[in-house]
Symmetry: C2
Subunit: 353 residues, 2 copies
Amino acid sequence: MSARSQSAAMEGSGWYNRHSSMQAAGNERAMAYWKDALEKVPVGGENIVIADYGCSQGLNSMKPINAAIDVLRRHVGAERPVEVYHNDLPSNDFGSLFQVIAGEPSSYMAAHGNAFPFAIGRSYFEPILPPASVHAAWNSWTIQWMSKKAADAPDHVFGGMSGVAEVRAAVAGQQAADWGDFLNLRSRELRPGGRLLSIFPACTPERRGWEYLGGELWEAVLDIHADGLIELHETHRVTIPTGVRSLADVRAPFRDSGRFAGLEIEHAEVLDGPDMFWEDLQRTGDVKYFASGWAGMARGFAGPTIANALDETRDRSAIIDAIFQRYEARLAANPQRHEHYFAVVVLAKVGER
Amino acid sequence: MSARSQSAAMEGSGWYNRHSSMQAAGNERAMAYWKDALEKVPVGGENIVIADYGCSQGLNSMKPINAAIDVLRRHVGAERPVEVYHNDLPSNDFGSLFQVIAGEPSSYMAAHGNAFPFAIGRSYFEPILPPASVHAAWNSWTIQWMSKKAADAPDHVFGGMSGVAEVRAAVAGQQAADWGDFLNLRSRELRPGGRLLSIFPACTPERRGWEYLGGELWEAVLDIHADGLIELHETHRVTIPTGVRSLADVRAPFRDSGRFAGLEIEHAEVLDGPDMFWEDLQRTGDVKYFASGWAGMARGFAGPTIANALDETRDRSAIIDAIFQRYEARLAANPQRHEHYFAVVVLAKVGER
């Protein structure tokens, strides 16, 4: 088992923006907690600083950032300059991000004057903002991505669903380490009283979720192998370095004292995730729309990672097309509700201004 | 005459970084003025803020930014956090920029700890940083690009070298307006005592420069038209929206009071530009290297703009290849020294901290 490949960015050219309605629906459920958290953030004479950790192409960040500007300026006046820092990997599609910021009607640049957008193309497993600078930090649907692949699974696209115990253990260990590192780094960047909200795929004590969408994706990879398009060793490498966390995993670093790295948990819960495509299917019977909707979403997050796992001599885009065509056909032939869960965690930086 | 096309970004995929040694040589000549200016910038308890207006893919910015960090930290200690803001158009190749920042040995991230790089994909003819935030601003080889094309020249790639008087007047008017707008906007972003250094193509009272490289590029465009690859109306639209400024143009806004928009000129001069490829040619006789060097440089700054001027049905990259192949052949057949001039202007923001 090797850890050869790093996480890739999301599918580019705006694809992720067009295929991330699952993530947007989850964000919607977190908005009330976000606004409550923002109300408690003290702002002095300094510019307001909002961080968007793992922004991808930015569309889903507009609503929470607008909310943050609204709430934080209510205390200090509408003229206070706002700095918004969007972070993602260097390979992220920052061109699409800047287009969204400049051109989308939902952009905070359309709604608010005196706001200044910036991008940071650097892994958030390094320091990316100056110490004690951030009032409000938004992090949605990113921390399921491990800082590196923990193990290649020979039998699934998700290591956490492998039948091999040591693969599952490697994933769990990496996820625990990443959560601690992320909290440590973000805590240094938050101002005293600053808040961080994080949303990510989760599991309940009883249910893991993702069996349907993950299982069919693995079968589509096997289909392509059976067709002779890729070799067996490539199927092992397509392991997508993501995983789910339980509430116990979330709370683990805080176990001893209730604090970790100067942070306290203000709220943590696991919610049942929505399946908008399934709801549409019940109403319309349009199985093609259902299948293309989920296939597009999965390609948005998994396509570049799978492409990087293929042998370098491959026509990677043709193979990715083939995998996701097969995947879409499988979903259409066997439509099921996508069972999944997600966590909403609100953290407060301890200390006085 | 229309002003249909906006400036395009530099050639992507790192091309500009590999073909901008002319610009780098000019920057080298400005470094002494930059360091002198930095010595006079007051820094209080705040983070050091350095702005790089018009960064392109960033390689040529590394040396001046390293110098700024060195000089500004000398007064406040090596631990002071430094924020570096790299600005260019939304369509800029920010992926290459972030790779340079993270991976180049010359990057300030390699030489200095506690430095935080950011990108801003937005025209600098808008506000892009919060008021009174910038200690040191670097701007090299960008302000020759007009905020919009002033006019299509029917007889040259540069409107300022057209035989049509109203084309030349439109260029001069646009350049004067842009210089004033740029100074106004940057002045708001500088801290009191902050310094802005700007380098850009210039002319002397006697000599304009760029006759050789500009003239041969226009001839290459005409060659491609003669070959039937593009139509006459397309040759008119390839006008590159750049121009040169004289010292009188630079000083014009400051004429009445010595100040403009809270800025004072600390230094302004026009220097004779280098031609490294010509010097190499004298030594080696390698005319192919000479021609491909200048053709690569010209493609770096002009390729995307020319591509945007072509009819939308064209195979644009094939035509750009054809133009620059023809251009390279012309330069090889008629090698001359590239006569050009550039201005180095240092501006100080008036006022106490």
